[in-house]
Amino acid sequence: MPRSVGFKYLFEKRPELKIAIFAGKGGLGKTTSSAALSYKLSSMGKRVLCFSTDPQASLSDIFEKDLFGKGEIEISKNLYVLEIDADKRIKEYVDSIRQKIKDMYKIEEIPREVEDYIESAVAEPAMYESAVYDAMLDVVSQNKYDFYVFDMPPFGHGIRMVAMADILSKWVDKITEARRQAYEYEKVASRLKREKYTEREDQLLKELESIRDRIVGFSRLITDPKGTAFTMVLIPEKMAIVDTEKALKMFEELGLRMSGVVVNQVYPPAILEDPRAPEYLKKRVEAQKPFLREIYEKFENLILAIIPMLRREPRGLEMIEAVAKELWESTITLDDLEAISKR
């Protein structure tokens, strides 16, 4: 029996899965994998939402339709795609904060110190990340779909946020506690002013708790051992292998489990046997060998799927269907990889 891989086996083992996350550097096939898995699951009758943010290697290109910032769009039966415009989202969010300040203090202009603060906050790269994660949590909380596939933005490994979420939730707990203590003193200290004052304090406490809930909610969303499969996509190249190892180590340190890896852009070893295959292609197969060996030795038990190098760019439903087939049940088996690594 050949040792076959594919998402089919993952879903057989984990029937409660509701979320799949694809992480890894840009250009390795995250968006393609996300689209392919979404397509496959939707064709099996599940209502699927495929979520992406990246305007570069985009779902718009793959599905050959302008989806960016357009909301949830139905591509084919049961397959919905959401490509969020994070910058627009941030702008709307910040405007709502400005409006809240104006309403609260009945002022026309935002004080300069406050405006300075807002502008420096918006300029932070973390702002973009947070906005994306917030959007992810939003779609999952709405619970409109049977399955969610997330194409993680290509920064910070997508894992840093797990660590961040954990630390942050602790911080917010601390802040909430400090605020509560301040509130207790307030009660004793200023009975006269109390009524008007505490109303705002209560709102603030609620706001803090809601922030904590978002952070904890997000952390649960992506680390849920039952419902979520966190997957990294890599290709047979040194840098991708190193990155995946680093990510695995980070996962371990956080006490989390990565569901596995997808090995993309693998030249089928049969090319070497084919007398009609051009020489340059054979050279490429040879060049991949040491990296495939390394992948096999380091990640053998983690490999979820092996996707062969495609003849052309993965665009359009037809190509996505081809990738989906390989992702679901890979033609290249673990035995093939082992054979390569022994050669």
Partner: protein
């Protein structure tokens, strides 16, 4: 009264401390707290700067 004030400042430091170069909460979420902090912002910033000067004197 004084103790209460310190807790207030601690809270301010934790939430919008990144104004002083000590980011603790992601700015996306501190922005949600900003409206409540508006009256405190100016005085708080001055106080923090004063305390930093004091530390400089002691350690320097």
């Amino acid at each position: 009264m004084k103790e209460k004030m310190y807790i207030e400042y601690l809270f301010m430091l934790m939430t919008i401390g990144d104004m002083m170069g000590i980011p603790l909460l992601p700015p996306y979420y501190t922005l949600r707290l900003l409206p409540y902090m508006v009256p405190n912002i100016k005085g708080w910033k001055l106080r923090m700067l004063r305390e930093r000067d004091f530390t400089d004197i002691v350690t320097g």
